[in-house]
């Protein structure tokens, strides 16, 4: 019934799921975990405030990551969650937030998010469809030079467009927040943005900004899972010391 070699991974993932459910329940019962401050997420308010003072628009991009590729999807979804938060802040301060949709399936989603936050003040030109990586880079370079945005957000599964979006924003004098879990783009985000979210920080952003007990519970669950994974790595090391191949005999069972 279970595919060969996937028994142990399935068992492990089900154990992890139970851990998450336990942590959510614990959190809902009032034992809410405290999580460290994430400067990148606290910086969103500062960047939005700066745009208000300057009277400039905010630009937001989730890069060219899609909702179809397995590794990109969670990061793009995290980027969309943050788009909701950023646009909510921007709408409350009457600042225009503009979203670059480089992937077609993000057009209806982003429109829905922005319509939800801006209500009647939503304008069609707040979502700009730029089909592909090169059009996104070209459009961003020109638009940033002309419009001089007050804030630039680049958060999601980012590819080669990162350097252009971030550098064009920096040249235009925008304050920037970047975040990605794609390792090759992390250096650009760190070097060029004022605030950055690296790897898991981006994925935990939804929980951090919502402050909902259940969501914060999953952060505690992640920490427990992390300890278990580190323990398993230790087991592999110990096994290799005593001559027992844990990885092939147990992990691939």
């Amino acid at each position: 019934m279970i595919q060969s070699g996937r028994v142990f991974p399935l068992a492990l993932i089900l154990i992890f799921f139970v851990i998450y459910l336990y942590c959510i329940r614990r959190s809902l019962q009032g034992k809410i975990p405290t999580i460290r401050k994430l400067a990148g997420l606290d910086g969103i308010r500062e960047v939005t405030g700066r745009s208000v003072e300057m009277g400039r628009p905010i630009f937001y991009s989730t890069g060219t990551g899609t909702l179809r590729a397995g590794a990109d999807m969670p990061q793009t979804l995290a980027g969309l969650t943050l788009l909701g938060y950023v646009s909510k802040l921007a709408a409350s301060y009457k600042v225009k937030a503009i979203y670059w949709a480089a992937v077609p399936e993000l057009v209806p989603l982003s429109r829905d998010i922005l319509k939800g936050t801006y209500s009647n003040e939503f304008k069609d030109d707040q979502v700009i469809f730029v089909p592909g990586q090169v059009p996104l880079m070209a459009a961003a370079m020109g638009t940033y030079e002309r419009e001089k945005p007050g804030g630039n957000f680049i958060m999601g599964a980012l590819f080669w467009e990162t350097i252009i979006l971030a550098e064009a924003g920096a040249r235009a004098g925008a304050m920037q927040v970047g975040g990605t879990g794609r390792l090759y783009q992390v250096p650009y985000v760190v070097a060029l943005c004022d605030y950055c979210l690296i790897g898991e920080e981006l994925l935990a952003a939804g929980a951090y900004i919502s402050k909902e007990p259940a969501q914060l519970g999953t952060i505690l669950g992640s920490d427990i899972v992390r300890f278990l994974v580190v323990g398993l790595i230790g087991l592999v090391i110990l096994g290799s010391v005593v001559g027992f191949d844990v990885a092939s005999k147990i992990f691939r069972f």
């Binding site: 279970i2 991974p9 399936e105 829905d112 469809f129 089909p131 070209a138 060029l192 994925l203 969501q215």
Partner: protein, 205 residues
């Protein structure tokens, strides 16, 4: 559409498709595999509709700019004409599609990528401004890696290659694996939050 429906329908679709994909990967059940394959076909159908909405967005945006004759309307005319032209060319024959895509779009895209080199230079300048200890370490590691890939530095000082290789194989690899591990765990937590309806990236703000 009421707020409850707007929230519950996407959540239900996510939960069903997620569980089918999840169990199709782990379990050897032909029905699940066939359902997963059908879902993949549906993804293509939905994507095609999404491209339609994207084109509609593009047409409306630039159409309105042309009608309003605002400051940037000449550029909108170019985009609008290119859009219509490519659509007609692609509908006529596949040979035309290859010609216009290969000789016009690819050439323009290559020129665009060449232009980004200048952005790289200024980005490097920005990255190498040493403001604190982290930035210093960042700059030193980057300089050593640049030296590793330029053969002339090996002639001048062979030790640079050894140090750069050590940076890549030890601290860089260790940190990368740590970040990858964190991302994997973060993805799991995000999947749990979305599956249970706590996090709503789709319009549930």
């Amino acid at each position: 559409m009421s707020w409850t429906t707007k929230r519950s329908i996407p959540m239900a679709i996510f939960a069903v498709t997620f569980l089918i994909s999840f169990f199709a990967y782990y379990l050897d059940v032909p029905l699940l595999s066939s359902l997963e394959r059908s879902m993949m076909d549906w993804v293509l159908v939905i994507l095609t509709f999404a491209i339609g909405t994207g084109l509609l967005n593009l047409s409306l945006l630039h159409g309105r700019r042309i009608i309003a004759r605002n400051q940037r309307f000449p550029m909108s005319i170019v985009i609008f004409c290119a859009l219509v032209f490519m659509f007609i060319a692609c509908m006529m024959s596949s040979a035309d599609r290859g010609y216009w895509y290969g000789y016009v779009y690819t050439a323009l895209a290559t020129a665009m990528l060449g232009f980004t080199a200048f952005y790289n230079y200024t980005a490097i300048y920005r990255a190498f401004r040493i403001r604190n200890l982290d930035a210093l370490l960042f700059a030193v590691a980057a300089i050593l890696l640049i030296m590793m890939y330029a053969p002339i530095y090996e002639l001048l000082w062979s030790g640079s290659v050894d140090i750069a290789n050590w940076i890549l194989a030890v601290p860089n690899l260790g940190a990368s694996r740590g970040v990858i591990l964190g991302i994997a765990i973060g993805m799991l937590a995000l999947a749990v939050r979305i599956l249970l309806g706590y996090e709503r990236p789709y319009g549930g703000t």
